[in-house]
């Protein structure tokens, strides 16, 4: 019996030593930048884990939140055009609640002058606290300052293996250097080509267009209601709570095909009503500038700007920055009806069959 007791004790001691060693390694490399900047550049890949660390460790006066539609913004361009010091904390497929999480953390940590936020209706769908289905849960232990839950970071298997190796490989061996450059954080436009052909392929491959027209008949008020709830909870509340922070929010310029698609699924009215709701609920707040880029035909009708029906090129991102600088496409009492009607007319007039026959 004594021997077994001693054995158990030895094994426990060994475990403890391994755990301490691992925590130490993770603490020193700190791939998610939870403990300030060290000599290793961050590796911009697993954004939901890295973003809170960026927010804690970098200095900035502006943050950019959103999904893949915002990842090709270059902070340099924004800083130059608007005279700011910006930090990009976007995530692939970010939901509204995920955006809120990064915005809230930044607003608590730093004096944030400006928040640039993409309003992608997809992100606002579903439950107001929805997390991306593949992610399932946000690593909330990274989104706070409580050191007592840091064990989930310091004793994390994937941090120990993948994240540390990535950080070391990128910094010392030059692999994937661009992914470690903060100027290009989360930028994906380099490896892909934007062309009408791509978009047509997508339509062809998915063969969804027609089937969507036939089957999805339902779109109802309850979904609009959910969108509104989500907007109030994830965006409007922050606008109210931080009157000294300017919120630049924008409707991203999806291609006209995306809107035809929306129409085919009977979701166009919902979309337009939601856009109107966003304007109505934010118009009284002086700290909001709302932009609508969905009506510029030069952009949305030129399908060579697109990777697929929704994802536009980096040139379009740069174009948006210019518009924000010049304050064009600003939604206000004078323009709201014009913009909404214009989009509606464009969609009605656009002949999708011509495209499908190509």
């Amino acid at each position: 019996m004594k021997m077994y007791k001693k054995n158990i004790r030895n094994s426990f001691i060994l475990s403890l030593l391994i755990l301490i060693l691992v925590a130490l390694i993770n603490f020193i490399i700190d791939p998610y930048k939870q403990y300030g900047l060290n000599s290793l550049n961050p590796y911009f890949l697993n954004s939901r884990y890295l973003n809170p660390g960026l927010i804690k460790s970098f200095s900035y006066d502006t943050i950019i939140a959103g999904s893949s539609y915002s990842e090709n913004f270059l902070t340099k361009e924004i800083d130059k055009a608007l005279g700011l010091k910006s930090l990009k904390v976007t995530s692939l497929g970010a939901t509204a609640f995920e955006n809120k999480s990064v915005m809230s953390l930044a607003l608590k940590k730093e004096k944030v002058k400006v928040i640039i936020l993409e309003l992608n209706p997809g992100s606002l769908r579903g439950d107001k606290q929805r997390i991306h289905s593949i992610i399932k849960t946000l690593p909330t232990y990274l989104y706070d300052d409580n050191i007592f839950n840091d064990y989930k970071y310091l004793l994390n298997f994937d941090v120990l293996y993948s994240e540390n190796i990535r950080a070391i490989a990128a910094n010392f061996f030059g692999f994937n250097e661009i992914i470690s450059n903060i100027e290009f954080a989360y930028y994906w436009a380099d490896g892909v080509s934007f062309s009408e052909e791509n978009l047509l392929n997508e339509l062809e491959n998915l063969k969804v267009y027609k089937s969507q027209i036939d089957t999805k008949k339902v779109s109802n008020n309850s979904k609009l209601q959910l969108l509104k709830h989500s907007f109030d909870f994830n965006v409007l509340q922050l606008i109210k709570d931080y009157p000294n922070t300017k919120f630049i929010i924008f409707h991203p310029p999806f291609s006209i095909v995306a809107f035809k698609w929306l129409d085919a699924r009977n979701q166009l009215d919902e979309h337009l009503n939601f856009k109107r709701y966003i304007f109505e609920s934010t118009k009284k707040y002086k700290n909001v500038s709302l932009y609508d880029f969905q009506i510029e035909k030069n952009i949305t009708h030129n399908l060579d700007n697109y990777l697929d029906t929704h994802h536009y090129s980096n040139l379009v991102s740069s174009w948006m920055i210019k518009q924000i600088k010049n304050e064009t496409f600003l939604v206000n009492q004078d323009t709201i009806d014009i913009y909404i009607n214009s989009l509606k007319t464009q969609i009605q007039e656009y002949d999708i069959n011509m495209l499908l026959e190509k």
Partner: protein, 473 residues
């Protein structure tokens, strides 16, 4: 509460362990049992306290019925016959399971068949209901056959709720559990059992959180994210799942066995190197053995087994496996998986009747491939996902150029998956399994180091990151 969680390992388990043995040390045996039942119920309620009444009701009901069965003699002089009490008991258990697990499945199919629009109930499935239902049905049948009896509710509650086996088995029998709880010798801490229990628990934890959860990276990408898979990707996806499931489930069972050993209770073996099987029957004698035991004793044999002629035997095999499939999940993919295994058993039976014999390694290859393909249906959330993977596996999705989507997703993670693949092949096919290791356990240096290593990496594996890395928009 899950075994692979901080709250279980660092709070629940140590507290329960020490108080249980402290109460026993003070000779408060009944109190110690009561304590173990209460903590098991707490363990169960951690997930959702709303389902506590369900398990309690199920327990009280089955205890009463069991008692009635024990007391009623075979001839029915007064009241209901013994058989009708048993049937009533079984129907109650199945109704409870049916309501929570299969109601929506039935409604969906009803809607589909009659083009109607009946509202789904959207009930959350009470944790472990499939397991405690089967366990208690077995208890009723055993009571009916006078093979076991229980006149003490506390004992009965302990049999049902004992937390190591509550959530996912092994499915235990009353007659194999209660004598162990009754033994005085089992009421004192036994360091040999503790060492062995921690050993197998740590191996199980490692299998679950390090090995299985690493395979999950490719499985999720292949099944849920990718739209098409080429030959190589599709095989990598399906084999990853085949390994993931084994390491996940057998790891979980190892943990259960280890936890029970801490309390000096021996749970039945549930996995015995299933992928070493050389035919399907052999596989079912090695995979989820306590479920196979249940299905054999309480479904297949009551249906007539192989005693009622060749035709009925084939029928019974198929029926048993259709039920087995449905038990695993309320969906047609599960039924189809059961169907495939049923058919395979029929084919095997027919084949062996003809007297043919295969070389062992060919037999193994066929068996393993069949199991691997059948798991595709088990895992797929939709038919389309299963078809996608299978199409890829037969090379119907070749695009001409060699891509490896799974690999490109995340090179370093994929390197780890490859590494784990090699290790797993070695572990699964060429080493003694954890139970065999346990049977020959010696307090050697090697085992001490293995325990320390598995435990620490098991703890590190409790926290992993889930990444959404989808470069193909």
């Amino acid at each position: 509460m899950l075994f692979n969680s901080y709250e279980f390992i660092f709070v629940f388990l140590p507290i329960t362990f020490f108080i249980y043995f402290y109460l026993n040390h003070k000779r408060l045996t009944e109190a110690s049992k009561g304590f173990l039942v209460c903590s098991s119920l707490f363990f169960y309620s951690w997930w959702n306290v709303a389902y506590l009444p369900i398990i309690l009701a199920s327990m009280v009901f089955n205890y009463v019925i069991g008692k009635k069965l024990n007391k009623t003699s075979k001839d029915k002089r007064k009241g209901f016959s013994k058989k009708s009490i048993l049937i009533f008991g079984i129907i109650f258990n199945l109704s409870l399971l049916g309501y929570f697990k299969y109601a929506d499945f039935l409604i969906e199919n009803f809607n589909l068949a009659f083009d109607s629009n009946a509202e789904l109930l959207q009930l959350a499935l009470p944790l472990a209901i499939s397991f405690f239902t089967f366990q208690q049905i077995a208890y009723l049948v055993d009571s009916y056959k006078q093979e076991t009896k229980e006149y003490n509710f506390l004992n009965y509650a302990l049999f049902v709720t004992f937390f190591p086996q509550l959530i996912a088995g092994p499915i235990v029998h009353h007659k194999e559990m209660m004598p162990q709880f009754a033994k005085t010798r089992n009421k004192v801490k036994n360091y040999r059992n503790i060492a062995m229990g921690l050993f197998i628990f740590s191996i199980g934890l490692f299998k679950k959180v390090v090995i299985a959860d690493t395979f999950a990276l490719w499985v999720t990408q292949g099944f849920d994210v990718a739209t098409t898979l080429n030959l190589f990707e599709a095989w990598a996806t399906s084999l990853s799942y085949t390994f993931q499931l084994y390491f996940d489930f057998s790891g979980y069972t190892d943990m259960a066995i280890g936890l029970a050993l801490l309390f000096n209770i021996k749970l039945p073996v549930n996995f015995n190197s299933p992928y070493k099987a050389t035919n399907i029957q052999d596989f079912w004698r090695r995979w989820h053995m306590t479920l196979s035991r249940f299905l054999r004793n309480y479904v297949y044999i009551p249906l007539g087994g192989n005693k009622k002629g060749e035709f009925r035997t084939y029928n019974n095999l198929l029926a048993t496996f259709l039920i087995g499939g449905l038990w695993h999940g309320a969906g047609w993919t599960f039924v189809f998986w059961g169907f495939l295994h049923g058919i395979a058993l029929m084919v095997q039976r027919f084949w062996s009747k003809l007297g043919f014999k295969l070389w062992t390694w060919i037999a193994w290859l066929i068996t393993f491939n069949f199991i691997n393909i059948a798991w595709v249906f088990f895992r797929a959330k939709e038919w389309d996902d299963a078809i996608k993977v299978l199409k890829g596996m037969v090379g119907l999705e070749e695009t001409g150029k060699f891509t490896f989507f799974l690999f490109e997703i995340n090179k370093y993670d994929s390197l780890l998956v490859c590494f784990i693949f090699f290790i797993s092949i070695f572990i699964v096919f060429f080493t003694k399994n954890s139970i065999e290791q346990l049977q020959h356990y010696k307090p050697s240096k090697k085992n001490q180091i293995l325990l320390g290593f598995c435990l620490s990496f098991g703890i590190i594996g409790l926290s992993r990151t889930s990444s959404f890395l989808y470069f193909n928009f």
